[in-house]
């Protein structure tokens, strides 16, 4: 039986890449004072996509000043209903330009078009729609009769869901009357810069949204800038710790959405076919570049021998390759550095005694690729059971009793997500109650919605994004 698919690439023509991108400050694209720039690559073939400016301290000053001015003169005093209408307008433009943004995201990030088109972009638009409606209803958010914006928000976001993370940060900040200076990741700046164009297209007042690009130094300058009132960061736990330290004593509000090592618990009575689909989407969605990935499979010992072959069979059918191909399930790893880290940790897993299985798929000759991989025989002490790999690598552990499953699931400094698979409602509830995680997916995994609060326990960060709960991070 020949299961080969003919190539079905989405057209790149919908994207008009510019060779150079400037900073977006005070409503205009302006070059960085230093004149420095970086290059962003297409991780699927290592070709250069564009160059973008590197913001230095002077540029950060300028952006923060513009945001402050906009907050005091325009955005803060504006009636909530009017602010909301800007956000509705932005949501509509995102919908109109969603194919362009989806293709651009796939080019810059390496994730499959199937995901950018069907998950990222619909959620981005939905986030702006959801928060638009809050702008004139904040008195009903349960945070007092007259909650006030904090002022200027410094926001730093990661490369795994570039535009979606922007939406998670910008939409609630703007709805609550704050202005923002946002720094996208240095490997995925492009959709944020198109978002800047969208702000212009929406006639958003200058300075309400400022996008500055650059690497870690730019991010540090932004989060440590004394002129902001709020820091919001999504990224690694290591950087999160240093931000928490630097914010101490400044009085700035802080929310952090950090790493995870999510446990996906499969009980012996689970619907196995559904569980297999959930395990696959839990760890292989977005190449495993997901902080809430179900990267630890905890399977009840009595069904492990039945489940694991089914899982391998299913993973063997995943299609890895051109992110723009509509049939692609797994795209490229976002960067050479991330690929290196995934390779290292997978090798450590083998050295520590886990058995490694990788899907038998051909990897393209250029670009950054890693075949979906399952490590079995993993123990709790193994690094692959403790450290976030942030790639398509699943660590499999077993358990005998529900108590053991919960103990193992919670045996991590992280606490972002967890999954439970069982057909028995009371067991699901019992397990969900005991899991120390901010999001519990039962009989499903990796679902997101703007109305649903997201965020972690323990070292997965603090604060929630989304829903009524997410507003608290931006109101005083």
């Amino acid at each position: 039986m020949n299961l080969d698919y003919a190539p079905a690439p989405e057209s790149r023509s919908v994207v008009a890449l510019r060779p150079n991108y400037a900073l977006f400050v005070d409503g205009e694209f302006t070059p960085a004072e230093s004149g420095e720039h970086l290059t962003t690559l297409n991780p699927a073939d290592e070709t250069e996509l564009a160059r973008f400016a590197v913001a230095g301290p002077a540029d950060v000053d300028r952006a923060v000043a513009a945001a402050r001015r906009a907050h005091e003169e325009v955005w803060g005093p504006m009636p909530g209903a009017e602010r909301g209408k800007y956000l509705f307008r932005i949501a509509r433009i995102i919908q109109e330009r969603s194919r362009e943004l989806a293709v651009l995201e796939s080019l810059d990030n390496g994730k499959p078009i199937k995901e950018t088109r069907d998950v990222d972009l619909p959620l981005v638009a939905a986030h702006f729609f959801y928060h638009a409606g809050w702008a004139d209803k904040l008195a009903h958010a349960g945070l007092g009769p007259d909650p006030r914006p904090l002022g200027v928000a410094a926001q730093v976001i990661p490369w795994n869901f570039p535009l979606l993370m922007l939406a998670w940060k910008v939409a609630p900040a703007l709805a609550t009357g704050n202005t923002v200076v946002l720094k996208p990741a240095e490997t995925t700046p492009l959709t944020a810069l198109v978002f800047a164009e969208i702000c212009q297209e929406a006639d958003l007042p200058p300075g309400v949204v400022n996008i500055i690009t650059g690497a870690g130094e730019t991010g540090r300058a932004l989060v440590e800038h004394p002129g902001t009132d709020k820091v919001a960061f999504t990224g690694s736990t290591e950087v999160g710790r240093s931000i928490a330290r630097s914010v101490a004593g400044t009085g700035k509000r802080l929310t952090l959405e950090l790493g995870g090592k999510g446990a996906n618990i499969v009980y012996d009575d689970a619907a196995l076919d559904q569980a297999v689909e959930g395990i696959v989407s839990g760890i292989f969605f977005n190449q495993g570049h997901v902080c809430c990935a179900g990267s630890r499979l905890l399977v009840q010992e009595s069904i492990a021998d039945e489940l694991l072959p089914r899982l391998r069979d299913r993973v063997s059918l995943l299609r890895l390759g051109d992110p723009l191909d509509k049939n692609t399930d797994l795209g490229a790893i976002n960067s050479a550095a991330q690929l290196e880290r995934i390779r290292d940790l997978a090798a450590v897993g083998e050295r520590e005694g886990a058995e490694r299985w990788s899907a038998p798929c051909d990897l393209p000759a250029s670009g950054y690729w890693f075949a979906p991989t399952i490590l079995t025989g993993v123990s709790q002490a193994h690094r692959v059971a403790r450290e976030e790999i942030f790639g398509p690598v699943l660590s499999v552990l077993t358990f005998r009793t529900p108590e053991e499953a919960v103990a193992k699931a919670n045996n991590t400094p992280y606490g972002l997500s967890a999954g439970v698979w069982t057909e028995k409602g009371s067991r699901m509830m019992w397990t969900a109650q005991r899991l120390r995680a901010g999001v519990v997916w039962s009989n499903t995994f990796n679902r997101f919605d703007p109305a649903s609060p997201f965020g972690g326990y323990k070292e997965s960060g603090y604060g929630r994004e989304g829903g009524r709960h997410g507003l608290e991070a931006y109101l005083g």
Partner: protein, 331 residues
């Protein structure tokens, strides 16, 4: 209980004790001196040894150290234990051990126990009023009003235990066939730096919301006025509050604070009484991303700063995590 008002009783009526001290340095010697002169000797006061409150018991500091506590006008009241780093560690261990059971109690049961604390405290109003007069030099009326407000605050939070989940949680209307619900859950072990100038109502105001929501607490008492915290611990110990839910450390905040802030098994800090050390403690907390409630306005005020206002959910929310559970809907 009522003997809290007898002027010669050590640890109460400080001003009067101070006067006594001028004439006779130690009531005991006064008794000895008058013995054998044909008159009945006044009753010898039984003094209280103030110890720590750890895991439901009242041990001395493992370090064996203690330190004198004086009244607002300088008279000796009692000695308190100087908690050490090891005591702090033991307190965290006790709080962690108690967390599973306490957080799993029904909200109704936690409310019953907090109400019981109010009942027991009510019965000791005179003792606590005298203790506040000793510690802070409050007038009788002010002290009585403060104790009454503290009792009422326990009642207030007793009523919150089975309300905050509905107020702060709820169903989320996601765009898909899913049941989606958010529930607030206790963050875990909270290190509470109690207000310095408000050792009863202030302490109650920061402690009650922590345990009402199912957390367990390690309290660093007011360094200036530590005695009421141990008196309160006696109330907690006799109110069906399980051992370890509240642990009280007296001593030097600067000595034990950094260990608590950096302790990986402490999930949150309430820095209300931390004063100038608050920034340093917040920095230490960053290492394990411990949640921090910074000192707010009025944090360094006296008991009166804690009276009268409805705290709402503001002191519960910082010590709650929101858990969101999804489940598909289908046949």
């Amino acid at each position: 209980m009522a003997d809290g008002h007898k002027p010669k009783n050590k640890g109460s009526g400080a001003a009067k004790t101070a006067k006594t001290a001028k004439t006779a340095k130690d009531p005991e010697s006064a008794v000895t001196g008058k013995a054998g002169q044909g008159r009945p000797a006044p009753r010898l006061t039984v003094r209280k040894t103030y110890k720590l409150y750890l895991g439901g018991a009242f041990p001395r500091s493992e370090s064996g150290r203690c330190s004198p506590v004086t009244s607002s006008d300088g008279a000796h009241l009692a000695n308190v234990s100087l908690a050490s780093r090891k005591d702090a560690r033991d307190a965290v261990a006790a709080a962690r051990k108690a967390f599973g059971g306490w957080s799993a109690r029904t909200a109704y049961n936690r409310g019953q126990i907090l109400y019981r604390i109010a009942e027991v405290l009510e019965g000791r109003r005179e003792q606590f009023a005298a203790a506040l007069t000793d510690a802070l030099g409050l007038s009788r009326a002010d002290a009585a009003a403060t104790v009454g407000a503290a009792v009422d605050r326990w009642v207030y939070y007793a009523g919150w235990t089975d309300k905050f989940t509905q107020v702060l949680g709820g169903a989320n209307p996601v765009a898909g066939p899913f049941h989606n619900q958010s529930t607030p859950e206790p963050v875990g072990v909270v290190a509470v730096f109690a207000p310095q100038g408000a050792p009863l109502l202030g302490l109650t105001s920061v402690l009650a919301p922590v345990i009402a929501t199912g957390n367990t607490a390690v309290v660093v008492s007011s360094e200036r006025a530590p005695l009421p915290s141990i008196d309160l611990a006696e109330v907690l110990a006799t109110s069906d509050l399980p051992g370890g839910v509240v642990n009280v450390l007296t001593g030097r905040s600067a000595e034990i604070g950094p260990h608590l802030a950096a302790h990986a098994d402490v999930d949150a800090l309430d820095l209300t009484g931390a004063g100038e050390a608050a920034v340093e403690l917040e920095e230490a907390a960053a290492t394990t991303l411990t949640r921090v409630l910074r000192p707010g306005p009025g944090s360094d005020g006296g008991e009166e700063a804690w009276r009268g206002t409805d705290p709402g959910t503001s002191r519960m929310r910082p010590f709650l995590e929101t858990k969101t559970v999804w489940h598909p809907v289908g046949v």
